[in-house]
Symmetry: D2
Subunit: 333 residues, 4 copies
């Protein structure tokens, strides 16, 4: 059960509500976000919501049968939009495009990609500076210096930045330079990181775990929301299956289900999803067709020279053709 | 290695070719299909193909490094088209639509569906009469009588029929009434059935196994081709993964890979793929966007009353809207 | 619901029972096996079983909530034993050992293996003559001649034979030479084959499908039982997962669950289960520790020269050591 | 390639070695652990190791073709033993037993479990105080106070403590009270946590990820080792598959492979592995039979009242019987 409270609720009124709930054997979590104040109430027995409904300070009450509550579409039927400023909005019906290299490598690399984004009217740049790599000996990213390098050029052109954060202790340093924090697939259930991201006022895009269920992804989003941050995006990036012909099994099925179960925008990541460059563009188009609110993909001037993920990265020409096709697709969507 | 032979090759010339190959430690399989005569040659050592190339009766030679040979795009770069007669062709660029009920239930049911197909210009009807069911106590289909019932009405309107065959002993009886034999997911590696289907001259659509790899699907197609039947279609119908929010994980990734590795047409089955009715249409559209040559889906006048698979079956209105959207999509494809 | 009938039930009494059930909206399947006559009754509503219990001809009634009925331990709490004659019994507490080559290759090969079995007191020989192979160009077994070759030597020494049957049409020819028919993983849901095996009086060992669920395996066994054959064994042989370090993921968890849900004996196949020779013996021992009624494994005089599956086949010394360890283990079991 | 260095190597000698390696296009990582100094060298080209072998300061050189290096059995053929003091050693041939509740709940609970451990001669207690839970509203553990509570009683009786650490910032506070830090399945690829654990001198047990490959687990161990901590244990705890009859698919196959590929001890966690109480004991025994160096399992006075994981937790009687059977098993192992 979710109870929306009046913003200016009196502490004594809040106490009465909580007491009533506890008397009915509900455990109560207070959630204050950028926008609203909520109580999330978990209990085993049914309760006549009119008992609560008439109490002072209560704005609205919703029963939510899902395990996740605040991210559920059962209470918030309107789709969430994420406004990044400068008229860059995700979830408003227009496909949101995010593109850039797997890893930030150099100023020159960034400037070439920025030029490519500008030319193709892509408003959000991706670029990793903290890279989770399965081997400790692999290139692990340029760190905060890479982020500043990226920021310097993006800011100038009002390009928004999405980049991965790997642990809570990085958040503060990154805060100024980031428009969307990305939680990677391997950290999709790193609950301490999720808790920490719930306490800041920046959009967070959570990737589904490598073999994360749809429900686990929604629960991970619930972690952040329940700590106070409503600005959330979900990302489908492929799951692990028995098939070995591609890197991951991009789960296009998840897109519709996430859109249905939750009010949060859903972004498709076909680059990691299938992991093979020549198949990325059609997968991007198919994802939009299936209802995704946007696409994040990897692009590099010379993918074959990229420090990581080159095999799944588009070059500028391929990226340009994809953007052209998305323009055509918009007419149908 | 695949050797294409001249149709009128002399037996003695063939003997010489085979002898040369065996001297080079190649095992040779003779394949005579509706269209061509081939030798499929498997060996461990490399061979100078010029030794073979100049022999009498040899039309062409192709090295094929894949495990599967005849279905590989490595030797046949042109896409295979399946001509069902009456201008119904699969693989010619137009999305091939196949629709109908999970199970044939009655004459009345068939006539309503036939009317729906005619209205929406759908040329191929699906309808199961032999139903593989996990429980022996479930409805297992009307059998040959159901097929005749279906045929009577389809023939009249030049609607083509695709239906599942479950064992070799059914083929003869079904032959007259079927335009495409379907091999179901559970029989995807039923090699005796595949062998038998290789010996007839009717198109065969092979579904990927419940957890079949892409390579296994291609090898199953190879079984049929190598017994003499080139008229093959591949079908992606969802694979088994850990996710439980839907029936199967429709593997959209497989579409592009199958199209790339093989010259055979690829059909998407979103009904079984995701198994939830409201998600089927977008998945159908996404599949075409990803490159599928056609879509097979379940439709029923009253899905909630269908004898099987009702939860994944579209009603007539939903089906009609899907067909309309596919018309729009064609402009982009 | 399962109703056990008196052997000498009068047709009119049977009619009355069936009529009563149908009046209560139960569908009834008549099952006459080697040992008993049953009615399997499927209905949605609860029924007061006393209405049936007092009818003439009824021996016993059991509610069974599982989807599978006759193979469930909910009605038959005593473990099923399979008696192969000559005091070879499976499921009597002693680990049943089945060993032999992947494929029967020659008389000499058979005689060496028979000698090995005799030396180690192994009473059941495995040996494939119909081989399901993913490629049509691979060695597909010696067929019925191989089986006769095997039989000639086994009969002499009272060694029992288990071998795979791939399609219904092979059953008759094989019948004389086989003690246990094996249904392979790829045919685990080949329902026509299962139906046919339900009509004979020979033990059947059904392997779990490559990605078959435990419930599907039990339902496949139900197919055979419900056609009249109670002599059934279940076999865990590894499932398909994302892990690539071994051939299959031998699912040791399934052993206890199968033993718990069903009254049928459970055989472990560690050779296919893990697919790597040096790991087979410990897996065999672990399976027995987990409750398996027996083990089937591959052995060959020279595994490296075997026509199939050599990489997972024990040589005679390895096999001998395994048997010795199983002797030690018996003290604990 | 791993180069073992003399402890008292001169900086100039080290420089020469590194320079030589870099000239041969090898990247070099310096690793100084509790016991040894190493250089881990990654390069694409082969190198004549004699060039390095004769350099001053070099103790030994090993080629290691695996992606992981320091944890590989290719260079260290002797099994690693973990000495916890007070004669508690893991990996010395005796099965190491670790038991305790999922979560620490109260002093009384701890004292009952400690009594149970003492009675059964179990030397290591498990008990969670930081609990990763998929829902933010679930009980998340008592935190550091729970650990202190556990420590107070364990210290007195020389029982060693294993407990999960969830993020780097918890390490310092926990350090004094912990004998083995456990990295949970969800954090198996939390590289920042692994890095931090590499910098302390305490044994670390890393659980395989929920769908982690065996190779990923070894790479995660490599992270810790390469930061300086050699005291490592690996834990198999079940993987995620399509089967739904149990919580996870305990992968008994992984035990032998991990023992083979690595020199680190391998612990089996059958409680999480199968997730169903009545099946845990046999799985524990089977794991030891398969070669595990120890078993970690959940035990609670009243599992049905446990705050978490009650359904997979043994009660004291079940635990006692398991220990008795393990005593019997030791004779064979």
């Amino acid at each position: 059960m979710i109870i929306q409270l009046h913003k200016n609720i009196q502490p004594t009124d809040l106490q009465i509500i909580c007491k009533t709930l506890e008397e009915n054997k509900y455990s109560v979590t207070t959630v204050n976000t950028q926008f609203e104040n909520y109580l999330v109430c978990i209990g085993k027995t049914d309760i006549d919501i009119r008992i609560i409904g008439h109490l002072k300070g209560v704005k609205d009450i919703h029963r939510v049968s899902d395990n996740y509550k605040l991210v559920s579409s059962k209470w918030k039927t309107e789709n969430t939009k994420i406004n990044l400023g400068d008229s860059v909005i995700i979830g408003d019906g227009e496909p949101a495009m995010m593109a850039g290299p797997c890893s930030i490598e150099s100023e020159e690399q960034v400037s070439k990609i920025v030029a490519h984004l500008l030319k193709n009217n892509i408003k959000i740049m991706r670029g990793g500076v903290y890279k989770p790599r399965s081997s400790p000996y692999a290139f692990r990213g340029m760190g905060i210096e890479g982020l500043k390098m990226m920021y310097a050029q993006c800011k100038q052109h009002k390009i928004k930045i999405i980049t991965e954060v790997m642990q809570a202790s990085q958040i503060n340093d990154m805060m100024e330079y980031v428009d969307i924090f990305q939680v990677g697939a391997r950290n999709s259930q790193n609950y301490n990181l999720l808790d920490a991201l719930g306490e800041i006022d920046k959009p967070i895009m959570i990737k589904r775990g490598i073999s994360g269920t749809i429900e686990e992804l929604l629960n991970s989003a619930e972690y952040i929301f329940s700590k106070g941050n409503e600005k959330l995006l979900l990302c489908e990036r492929g799951i692990r299956t028995f098939e070995t012909m591609y890197r991951n099994t991009f789960d296009i099925n998840a897109i519709q289900i996430l859109k249905d179960k939750s009010h949060l925008p859903v972004i498709a990541d076909p680059s990691h999803g299938i992991g093979i460059r020549e198949y990325v563009p059609k997968l991007a188009l198919a994802s939009l067709m299936a209802g995704a609110d946007g696409v994040i993909y990897e692009v590099h001037e010379k993918p074959e020279e990229a420090l990581s993920d080159g095999q799944q990265t588009l070059n500028f020409i391929e990226s340009e053709r994809l953007i052209e096709k998305i323009q055509l697709l918009k007419a149908i969507l």
